[in-house]
Amino acid sequence: MSEALELGSGTRKISELIVRVPLASCTLAAGASKVLESIEKALGKLGLEARIKKTGCMGLCYLDPWIELESRGLPPTIYANVKPEQAEGIIRRYVEGDLSGALAVRSEASGFKGVPTLNSLPEWRLQVRYVSRNCGFIDPESIEDYLRTGGYSGLKKALKLGREEVIEIVRKSGLRGRGGAGFPTWYKWRVAYEQRSDVKYVICNGDEGDPGAFMNRLLAESDPHRVLEGLIIAGYAIGASRGYIFVRAEKPLMADRLEVAVRQARDYGFLGEKILGTDFSFDVEVYRSAGAFVCGEETALIAAIEGRSRPRQRPPYPATSGLWGKPTVINNVETLAHVATIFQTGLDEFTKYGTERSKGTKMFCVTGSVRKTGVYEVPIGTKIRTLVYELAGGPPDGRSVKAVQVGGPSGGCIPADLLDLELDYETLQSYGAIMGSGGLVVIDNTNCMVDVAKYFITFTLAESCGKCLPCRVGVKVLGDILEKVASGTATLEDLELLRELGESIMRSSLCALGGTAPNPVLSTLRYFKNEYEEHVVMRRCPAKVCSRLVTYEIDPARCRGCGQCAKNCPVSAISGQPGKAFKIDTSRCTKCGQCLIICPFGAVVKG
């Protein structure tokens, strides 16, 4: 994929040195803009003429910020965790042919045996970069870059076909929604297509409220035209005249990049009146939502665009009566990127991956207790173990995986002994989790499962819109019982009540938020009942997380006798002489944990 070679001899001079710097929210947070500044300075100082290419992120977050250098006669080389002050040295050595300090080279080159190729790294080799093929390589704000990689050829092909043929291709592909439930994409399209209505809408759902899932943001920031192309194809298939891309205002860069893409597509005639000489007219607006987790739910998302809040009862489904009461198709960012790629590269390229019932690939965010946090695209049906251990490198030294939380607040925990499960919609569901948007949070032995359940319930409780009773009150009661468990005042009957209540909330809630909210509780209760019982019966938290169930002590070796803890103790349980080690009177201690937070030397320890 060497671009310098493709450009030909006419542009030899500027293609001498290409510096790729990733500018996406995640790399910027890690300091990429400072690295960019220092690169510009270094180039001036070294007197080098180079083209700086601002790309998106390739998803290997633990390498942030990385840069890639490419030049004639030298292999494209990636440097990881670059600090601004290192930039000059790296560039100087690279142009002299010295690749020391590099992470990897993109392609094998003779004479540079010391540096591994990107493909020899398991976190790259085991991936199938299907929708994320351009991420971290092209400039997301350049439509020319996208066109050069085959962009909009999918749209051109689709526009030559009839609408029913387009839907038929999506049906044959077996593509299922990548946003959570895995609903067949073609089916929504078919229903909306069959509606008789002069106005129809398509909406790209980029709300992505799950904590720990950011593949949509990464995709839209790094390759926005792919998402847009998918949306235009969807609009054509159902006969819509208008599309919306729904993005959170909290993700400004994602919205900005998509807006740039929409403008460029308009200039190139991929949007607007009579697209590419056909009688299909279509335009897109990027909608910046004010942010609420429930907006990931279709009817709540529609309500937000209409200036209201809260989901409503289904049916009628949006495909028959959605935005402003018109037929509306809502697809996830990744789903639409898949649509575009399927039309660009053909059906076989897509269907050769995945399982019998779920075709293709899926991007997963692997975070938590792993060495190599990142977004990895793998075929559906890949084992959880492969993702956690081979791609993400497993937990850091001295820790062991206890569970993997899949699917965010609507998902569940899969225990360590079931890591050989395959990641597909049905398998996960039958084990009490969901695919969700594809966030995997690795939980290790220092985390308490009751605390994890409490965390998710607190999240859902804050996000519950309050419209229907089971969710509004039921989730609150779930939280109260979990609080009792965590503080050691619960009984075994309470655990039974948790399960019963959880099941009734799932049955009776109005929308998917309430319908999946008890999942984290039910799945931890199912696989980690021992841990719950230990809290209830022994009044002990094995992971020493639940502060009410641990004892606090002062380590005399670390205590410097500053007296901060004694001063801040609300029940005066700490005493001592200034300059000497202080002591906690455990009979008076209420286990509020203030001393632990306040101690400047980390001398307060949990026992």
Binding site: A29, P211, E250, G291, S309, G368
Partner: protein, 192 residues
């Protein structure tokens, strides 16, 4: 819990500095000019008002409700539903502590509590009484590799910083740093 939030908002008088009513009116008028008296654009209007005042002042919302011909409670219903909107004025710097799953598991709640402690915040208080710092819990920023993460924004939106891989003591240091920066800014304003 948005319904508790809206209840207290409706009952208690507006806190913070109250500006000249003409200031609110001019912003509300400008917003109505831009979007028309169109109920469906309410969220966009609120976003614009917040951009101006860094929160949604009660006075401005009252004017908006008259101009749009809808009740104040309907506006507050929408305003409390979405995370982006703030009903209370904020400090010079807003520190958002990420409460995404990864950050939480890596100890963001301890960092959050210790930061509040440093500022001497009481229960239900989010802004230091000297008006320097506001501390908020935030949803996932999507940079989980840096967990635990905080994002610091100046209330006028001109500065934005991210601090990652924090621990409790670094968190405290960061708060104090921003507090002294904010005090300088406030002093500068007074001198002008």
């Amino acid at each position: 819990m948005y319904y508790e939030q809206s209840r207290t908002y409706l009952r208690t008088p507006q806190s913070g500095v109250v500006l000249d009513p003409r200031r609110y009116l001019s912003v509300v008028d400008r917003v109505i000019c831009k979007y028309g008296a169109d109920r469906s654009k309410l969220i966009n209007m609120l976003q614009e008002i917040q951009r101006e005042f860094q929160h949604l002042p009660r006075q401005a919302l009252e004017m908006l409700s008259v101009k749009l011909g809808i009740s104040l409670s309907e506006i507050i219903n929408v305003a409390t539903f979405y995370h982006q909107f703030r009903l209370e004025p904020v400090g010079v710097y807003v520190i958002q502590v990420c409460f995404g799953t990864t950050c939480y598991l890596k100890g963001s709640s301890e960092i959050y509590e210790s930061m509040r402690k440093v500022l001497g915040l009481r229960e239900r208080e989010n802004t230091a009484r000297d008006g320097t710092i506001t501390i908020e819990k935030a949803r996932c920023f999507g940079c989980c590799s840096l967990a635990p993460v905080i994002m610091v924004t100046s209330s006028d939106g001109s500065e934005r910083y991210v601090h990652g891989r924090l621990n409790v003591s670094e968190g405290k240091r960061v708060v104090l740093d921003y507090r002294s920066k904010a005090l300088m800014k406030l002093k500068g304003l007074k001198n002008e």
